[in-house]
């Protein structure tokens, strides 16, 4: 049941069949579904995923539909970037010299006691996240 917070990089990789990491990203989500792991998504991920997909496809409505379809209530827990989360991200980010968005993801993972899963090089380099393939192997 290990809970996961999923970075936008994994969502867009799973969405885009032209991405070399698409297949393993889809395997990751399939395993999350199989294990019935709790899946958290901070609200900033919706913006990042929607924008990246819109820029990739050139299709505003399609990108919006796809990003919003991430948020099925009984499968995905949407975490609002509200005052307490921002305060926590502020602490983590200034302490660890993080980029602002990274601090929001890390605060989400910390608050939900979940593992941050990401393809982002900086998330992985700082040891704050695991990649989908490492999560699958664990």
């Amino acid at each position: 049941m290990n809970a996961v917070t999923v970075d936008a990089s994994v969502w867009v990789a799973a969405a885009d069949a032209s991405d070399p990491r698409c297949s393993v990203s889809r395997d990751f989500f399939a395993e999350v579904a199989h294990r019935e792991s709790r899946l958290f998504v901070p609200s900033i991920a919706l913006v990042e995923v929607g924008c990246a997909l819109a820029r990739r496809s050139g299709d505003t409505q399609g990108a919006r539909r796809l990003a919003q379809a991430m948020l099925v209530p009984n499968v995905v827990t949407y975490v609002a970037v509200d005052g307490p989360l921002v305060a926590h991200a502020f602490e983590l980010g200034t302490e660890g010299f993080l980029r602002g968005a990274d601090a929001l993801y890390m605060a989400t993972a910390a608050q939900t006691q979940s593992t941050l899963v990401s393809w982002d090089g900086e998330h992985l380099a700082r040891g704050a996240a695991v990649s989908p393939d490492a999560w699958l192997d664990a």
């Binding site: 867009v12 991405d19 070399p20 990246a52 990739r56 919003q68 099925v72």
Partner: protein, 87 residues
């Protein structure tokens, strides 16, 4: 009829956030859910994780099938995240 009910703060925050995303009022969503429940229909939140994933992957493939050649969406995301960093 006007009704007053107590809802957990976190749940209500999420309801408000999703309603805002969909451009709907909480009142409309509430009425819709009550109606579905009374009629015995599953609400949109009734999907299993497997169903959700299958639907989402199908929608992704459909949405991006006509995407022009170019770097994958992950590269665009990565580029956007690093725009302000020194090169």
């Amino acid at each position: 009829m006007k009704a007053t009910i107590n809802i957990p703060d976190e749940l209500y925050r999420r309801v408000k956030a999703k309603s805002a995303l969909e451009g709907r009022r909480v009142r409309e969503v509430t009425i819709e859910l009550y109606s579905h429940w009374l009629e015995g229909e599953p609400s949109s939140g009734g999907a299993t994780a497997d169903q959700w994933l299958a639907d989402w992957v199908r929608l992704a493939d459909e949405s991006l099938k006509d995407a022009p050649a170019g770097p994958p969406a992950r590269s665009l995301l990565d580029e956007a995240r690093r725009r302000t960093e020194p090169r």
